[in-house]
């Protein structure tokens, strides 16, 4: 039974997020004065065809570290969902 890995990749806090900054400016221009800050990241869905959740989790973590994120400047988090 496959699993759906929902992976979020975000820039580390110490890295300037210029996209977030640009959108933040746009929202301020639109009058949203209470919007304090914006950080933009990536959301990635990966279907993993594994029977065991442990194995699906291992693969999800491995691909997140290896390709989906760059640990030098990004963090990732993952949620696993069982697909019927």
């Amino acid at each position: 039974m496959p699993y759906l890995a929902k992976i979020k990749v975000t820039l580390r806090q110490s890295i300037l997020d210029v996209q977030g900054k640009a959108v933040d400016h746009a929202l301020k221009n639109l009058g949203y004065r209470t919007v304090e800050s914006i950080r933009i990241g990536k959301y990635i869905e990966v279907t993993i065809n594994e029977e065991e959740i442990v194995e699906a989790e291992r693969i999800g973590n491995e691909i997140s570290m290896k390709l989906l994120s760059n640990p030098v400047m990004e963090n990732y988090s993952m949620e696993l969902e069982h697909i019927n």
Binding site: I15, L16, V18, A22, K42, L67, V72
Partner: protein, 234 residues
């Protein structure tokens, strides 16, 4: 004497590959060969250049997908054996993603894609890529990138400086390393770094676009010349 082969890797989305080929071919005794990303054969190259562009559309992160292409497995082995590898712009991004160089490149500080002439200095002239430069000399070499903001954790930056691995820095016209002269927000104005072994160099500026009088600057030429003197044993 037979010609020395220099490989120029072509990824889908590379767009400085032919400029680089042209620059390499302008040296007598050196023959460029184009190496397709899906191949494993380095065709007897004595040095490899990863050119600028937008490999794989810069999807996910610049250089991240190119790093896993078949040819890169060979390039990583080649570098491991001590042969010279030069990464320009997107090629630098690929080298960082490959782990051949340390650090990462994020989006330019001021959000803009920058395409302009910059002043840089070779702050280490004892590498195989920079022997023909002088440290106090200001070079005019263009940049063209959206993600050239060099970042690495503080301990990595310290270690790079300590081991003279920072090779190029952005400067003002007088050669001073100032904040105003920093086009993209790179830490310590870093424009190019080399690995500890001294055979893998990555830089954001484009030496192949400063290789002909017609292009407005010849300052990039000596980078190739230094490298080619090294591989031909001159």
């Amino acid at each position: 004497m037979s010609e020395i082969i220099v490989g120029v890797v072509v990824f889908p989305g590379s767009n400085c590959d032919h400029d680089t080929e042209h620059a390499v071919a302008s040296f007598s005794g050196i023959k460029p060969v184009m190496l397709w990303h899906n191949d494993h054969d380095l065709q007897g190259a004595k040095a490899i250049i990863l050119p600028g562009g937008f490999s794989y559309g810069d999807y996910l992160r610049a250089g991240s997908i190119a790093r896993f292409s078949p040819i890169m497995q060979e390039v990583i082995d080649f570098a491991g054996k001590g042969f010279p590898v030069l990464g320009i712009c997107n090629g630098f991004q690929v080298l960082l993603e490959s782990g051949l160089l340390e650090g990462a490149l994020s989006r330019n500080r001021d959000k803009k894609f920058l395409c302009c002439q910059t002043s840089i200095r070779a702050v280490n002239c004892s590498t195989i890529f920079t022997t023909l430069y002088k440290e106090d000399e200001v070079l005019s070499i263009p940049i063209a990138h959206g993600e050239g903001n060099y970042f690495a954790p503080p301990e990595v930056i310290e270690s790079l400086e300590e081991h003279d691995q920072v090779v190029f820095k952005y400067t003002d016209a007088q050669g001073l390393v100032t904040d105003d002269a920093n086009p993209n927000g790179s830490l310590r104005n870093i424009a190019g770094i080399i690995n500890r072994q001294g055979n893998v160099l990555g830089l954001m500026p484009h030496p192949e676009r400063a290789n002909d009088k017609l292009l407005g600057s010849l300052d990039g030429r000596r980078l190739f010349e230094s490298l080619f003197c090294h591989i031909s044993g001159v």
